[in-house]
Symmetry: C2
Subunit: 151 residues, 2 copies
């Protein structure tokens, strides 16, 4: 599969490590940066990742920052992205099975590399269950929210 990966500076090392794991598992990796551990803003990389999913450049995405919180907010701004912040494999599986998540987010300062790798592996093999879950996922893809101007 073609899988995009993006992070902020705090998760730069974990990004490199998981990107290599993905390659070892036979996937094609689209590394959206950053290219160093210099300070960057997580929303910029979250949006890049969401766009890669939206335009079909990647089937799945991996979004990483210090806690995983900020970048998961950014990715989920995009109606084509369904980003699940996880720290253990059970949630990683549920994210695919119930929410058809196409992006997994993790926090490099909170979740160690072995646990992150296990979550990612679980995420990629789990399958969406469809059925009643599909109706809910459809509502995420066409969100019924007011525009920013209304707020």
């Amino acid at each position: 599969m073609k899988i995009a990966i993006a992070s902020d500076h705090a998760a730069f090392d974990l990004k490199s490590e998981l990107a290599q794991n993905l390659r070892d598992w036979g996937h094609e990796v689209l590394d959206l940066g950053p290219d160093s551990a210099d300070r960057v803003d997580y929303p910029d990389y979250g949006y890049k990742l969401a766009e890669a999913i939206a335009c079909g450049d990647a089937e799945y995405g991996v979004a990483l920052c210090g806690s995983g919180i900020g970048i998961s907010m950014a990715v989920n701004r995009h109606p084509a992205a369904r980003c699940a912040l996880v720290s253990e494999p059970y949630s990683a599986a549920l994210a695919r099975e119930h929410n058809d998540a196409n992006v997994i987010a993790m926090g490099a300062r909170l979740t160690g590399p072995d646990m992150a790798r296990t979550c990612l592996q679980t995420f990629l093999v789990a399958e969406f269950q469809g059925g009643r879950h599909a109706d809910r996922v459809a509502k995420l893809t066409e969100p019924n929210i007011s525009t920013q101007e209304d707020a």
Copy 2:
């Protein structure tokens, strides 16, 4: 403070419990439903919660579903909402301190009521640290993403 709370059926009991905790702590609670444990779709309640934040009906929000994943995706569709999915208090604090999160999401099937209560308490007392974090939060409020039609 005025705090909105919403869930799906899987988190109906936890919603009732946390709403009562919030009242006991002196907050005004806006319970956005559901009113029973009958099956509902989490996006509907996530969007209601985001709207309540966006229009100023509530300062903070609590979003609950089975795993917390689905409703956190829905809430984060709205640029006025910054929703952090957490399962332990350290993340709950970071969500406020670094991301100025205004909604906390938790999964009733994964996080027990005592842990959820502790996360909520931590979330409400933690304070946004501003500074460099403020620039990043601004990018979440005015997301640079293409529209659904572009995708």
